[in-house]
């Protein structure tokens, strides 16, 4: 069953998280009242390397390419990203 594009949002992973989860990008179904923190909880409940999203090293959150918090709302069409603290420069 294919989900309608308009019902979904994208999640991207970078750097160490991308490598340890083995996923670069995924598409998930949006639900009313969803927050980035809830998405993290749902993903962490998959177990294995995913548990680190709630119980591991700090995870930074972006929504639509702007820094966000766990309380930030997630809507259909959004681009979420989870990544380790940044280390450029």
């Amino acid at each position: 069953m294919t989900e309608a594009l308009s019902d979904t949002f994208t999640v991207r992973f970078f750097a160490r998280l991308r490598e340890e989860l083995g996923v670069e990008e995924m598409t998930l179904k949006a639900e009313p009242g969803l927050t980035t923190g809830r998405v993290l909880e749902q993903l962490a409940s998959r177990g294995g390397p995913w548990s680190q999203l709630k119980n591991g090293q700090p995870v930074m959150i972006a929504v639509n390419q702007a820094m966000a918090k766990e309380a930030t709302a997630v809507n259909a069409g959004d681009e979420l990203a989870f990544f380790p603290p940044v280390t450029g420069g």
């Binding site: 160490r16 390419q65 702007a66 990203a81 380790p84 940044v86 280390t87 450029g88 420069g89």
Partner: protein, 163 residues
């Protein structure tokens, strides 16, 4: 007085440059561009970061830089905007490289042209400090023993928060 103030803070943002690139950059070309910020340009501060042999581990032979395309540029633009609100900037130029970078290579350039040295120094250092904790880049360090992701340093967080 109002006109003076307006003139004082006017700047041509069109001359600002943000570039995320795999290729090396030429700091001299950046400096020469900064010099073209008009006859009231009195101060140019630049910073260049290089791949050094002593990183998180010793004997670093190179880095690999990953970034979040799109968001990186947006965050750096916000940092330049914040700096422009706090200091008198004529032109800002920021370049950050991505991909594999051998020991000694240039990683990042921040250059500020301003009327006065205080503004140039402050804006340049602020952008560098803030970039290190808010621009989505990640550094993988490579040495003889293998490779590992660099951890964010508490000192970098403290420097960034001190502004």
């Amino acid at each position: 007085m109002l006109v003076m103030s307006w003139r004082f803070f006017r700047r041509s943002q069109g001359a600002d440059v943000i570039s995320i690139q795999a290729d090396d950059f030429d700091p001299n070309a950046e400096y020469q561009a900064l010099r073209q910020s008009g006859p009231d340009t009195g101060a140019i501060a630049t910073f260049t970061g290089l791949v050094r042999i002593s990183g998180d581990h010793s004997g670093v032979t190179g880095l690999f830089l990953e970034h979040y395309p799109g968001m990186t540029e947006a965050v750096i633009q916000q940092l330049i905007d914040q700096a422009s609100e706090r200091w008198n900037i004529l032109t800002a130029r920021v370049i950050h490289r991505i991909g594999p970078l051998p020991l000694g290579d240039q990683i990042v350039f921040v250059g500020i042209a301003s009327r006065h040295r205080g503004d140039a120094f402050a804006a340049c250092e602020f952008i560098m400090d803030a970039l290190k904790t808010s621009a989505p880049f990640w550094k993988k360090e490579i040495n003889q023993e293998g490779e590992h992701w660099v951890e964010q340093k508490t000192s970098d967080l403290e420097r960034s928060e001190s502004w």
